[in-house]
């Protein structure tokens, strides 16, 4: 056996060792290899996940633990499944990230793709990290709401209604004696759920229209732009009032209205596509004989993805505000379901006596929307297509 053969075997054995370590505990493989930052990041995730699991177990709220208690376990299934899904993802992610990093460090010429450059730049941008942090916290709260809440989101305490913040109810009680903190925790589900789904619809509809209009120009573009102008010329609240009075208020109505009539992204995507389609590589693809669908999917879309992502994050923020505004006006989510906007509306009458009813939901809206906005802002810088 030659010397190089021997070295090769030693190296391979060490690599195998690291993989096993990573499977034992996510991040351990990274730390052994000397990638401290990444390893510690995985450990941080692990600690957070462990914390959530601890809370859930201590309160007996994992779905099958709840059977023994007198409560119905159905409300815990979603959170429980997500919790274990997150653990699986964490393990797999650590393993595959380690494998990719080891391979990348082995190859002589390390190839850096666009997304690697983007993530490197993003990790150096405090603005984006703060935004992402805020959004991650809100998402965690929304997904694991039943673990965190004390179970008093709907339960009324008619003796102590309007009680100020105390050790038992950190953010006080509302006018029906419901816990404000619990309502805020569950309210995050409404905000993110409606905001997220509506934004998804916005991007599907608006993105499609913008793509078609921007790429084909001419008649389709003219028709799409006129439709957008007509929709934009109708006052949004009047439109919502009309539709709510026809279909009745509710989560579905809200999502549909926001999703279909929030066509703002269409214009931004159209303008981006308009500039991308003039690039020489589009012409080159046509010269090669590539079909239109391929040009759109392989050449136009990947080069417009940056602004698409920015618009998406910004739109989520806007939609959360709109949902809160509509709930405030009474066109939103139906009363017993906790939502931040509806909480503000209730708080109106008690502004002088019970400030906690208004301040905390208001702060939640502000912080969440702020998180999405600075993330969008940071993405705009980080995803700059001219980056090297």
């Amino acid at each position: 056996m030659t010397d190089t053969d021997h070295q090769d075997i030693v190296r391979k054995r060490a690599m195998l060792n690291d993989y096993v370590l990573s499977l034992l505990l996510p991040g351990l493989g990274h730390i052994v290899r000397g990638w401290w930052r990444k390893g510690l990041l995985f450990w941080l995730f692990l600690v957070i996940q462990g914390g959530v699991l601890y809370i859930a177990v201590m309160r007996g709220r994992l779905a099958w633990l709840a059977y023994s208690a007198s409560e119905s376990p159905s409300q815990y299934w979603f959170s429980t499944t997500m919790l274990f899904l997150f653990f699986v993802i964490l393990w797999l992610w650590a393993f595959f990230d380690l494998r990719r990093s080891i391979r990348a460090s082995d190859v002589e010429t390390f190839v850096q793709g666009y997304w690697q450059i983007v993530s490197r730049r993003f990790s150096k941008d405090p603005k984006g990290l703060i935004g992402l942090g805020i959004i991650a916290i809100v998402c965690y709260v929304a997904i694991f709401a039943p673990f965190f809440a004390q179970g008093n989101a709907l339960k009324m305490d008619l003796v102590n209604f309007l009680a100020p913040p105390s050790a038992q109810h950190p953010l006080g009680l509302d006018n029906f004696g419901r816990d404000v903190l619990d309502r805020i925790i569950f309210g995050s589900r409404v905000a993110l759920g409606i905001g997220g789904v509506a934004t998804l619809l916005n991007m599907l509809f608006g993105g499609f229209l913008g793509l078609i209009g921007g790429y084909f120009r001419g008649v389709p573009d003219a028709i799409i732009m006129r439709i957008l102008e007509i929709v934009n010329s109708i006052p949004f609240l009047v439109l919502v009032l009309l539709i709510v009075s026809l279909w009745g208020a509710g989560i579905t109505t809200l999502i549909v209205v926001l999703g279909i009539f929030g066509l703002g992204p269409a214009r931004i995507i159209r303008s981006e596509v308009l500039s991308v389609r003039e690039e020489d590589y589009i012409l080159a693809a046509r010269a090669v004989g590539a079909p239109t669908l391929r040009i759109i999917l392989r050449h136009v879309l990947p080069n417009a993805i940056a602004s698409l992502l920015v618009v998406t994050t910004m739109t989520i923020g806007v939609n959360i505000i709109v949902v809160a505004g509509l709930s405030f006006l009474g066109f939103g989510v139906r009363p017993p379901i906790p939502s931040w906007g509806a909480m503000l509306q209730q708080a109106q009458e008690f502004m002088r006596s019970a400030w906690w009813m208004a301040v905390y939901p208001g702060l939640c809206i502000i912080i969440t929307v702020f998180g999405f906005n600075i993330l969008g802002d940071s993405l705009r810088d980080v995803l700059d297509p001219r980056l090297k």
């Binding site: 850096q112 010269a287 004989g289 990947p302």
Partner: protein, 346 residues
Amino acid sequence: MSSDNILLDVKNLKKYFPVRKGVLRRVVAHVKAVDDIDMYIKEGETLGLVGESGCGKTTTGRTILRLLEPTAGEVRFRSKKLAGQGEEYKEVDVATASRKTLKALRRDMQVIFQDPYSSLNPRMTVGAIVGEPLLVHRVAKGRERKDRVCELLASVGLKPDHMKRYPHEFSGGQRQRIGVARALALDPQLIIADEPVSALDVSIQAQVLNMLEDLQEEFSLTYLFIAHDLSVVKHISDRVAVMYLGKIVELCKTEELFTNPKHPYTEALMSAVPVPDPDYNVERILLEGDVPSPVNPPSGCYFHPRCRYAKDACKTEAPVYRDLGNEHFATCHFADSLSLRPVRTG
């Protein structure tokens, strides 16, 4: 003219861009970017196309490829790949070809772009860029395609492991080589090179030019070489066409153009060629005024307001593009009688 080995024959090709104005977007005028041009390219030769910026060189190239729809005219192309059994070639009019024929023709006519920075998709790896033509035309797939891409990269002087990289990791010259590899992928007969070296550093220009010459020999390619740099054109072309304001004013063998120009515009253009001799005192012919607008070209001969030999006839009568013998074409009333100054080289 002999017709036996003509690969591409362009007849009366026109490309007008409408100028729209007002609320109703009515067409008020046309930009005559390519205004009735005739030329042919023989198999295996390099035809240079020169002219100042805005004279319609690029538009001519793109209209021939039908990346732009021609307004009028014919572009007859002798395709070998479309030939039926027993035929050596099939003659197709690119200007009126159906979508299907056009797609098939893409395998025979390819293009190299001027700007190596915008002609490569920044989100695709080099392997994907060079392999795309093979994918689109279902020429090769999987392992075979990868091998073919490696071959292509090697033939333009790049390494196989460059395949996995992205365009931004390469220099201008390397990027232009990637563009050439993409054009070669389908083994075309004709390549329209749209100022392939003008965006490059002078030291790199020579490398890329020599590579293009080597490739021409290796793959028996025919080039339509668009450029504005006369020294580049002189180096690479067998024949040269000079364009002015959407028209070809002169077309002849390269040597002939430089020694015996027949059009006053060519003469002026030639006098701008730098001579590598510090003692040689050039008397440059300075053209007065600006290039006229192609929306509203001058009457008669388009060049008459700037021509120092212009006579009354030039203001009213448009000269005809005619053969002066020996494959020398010119668009000037006095092409036979003027004695113009040739360029001094070396």
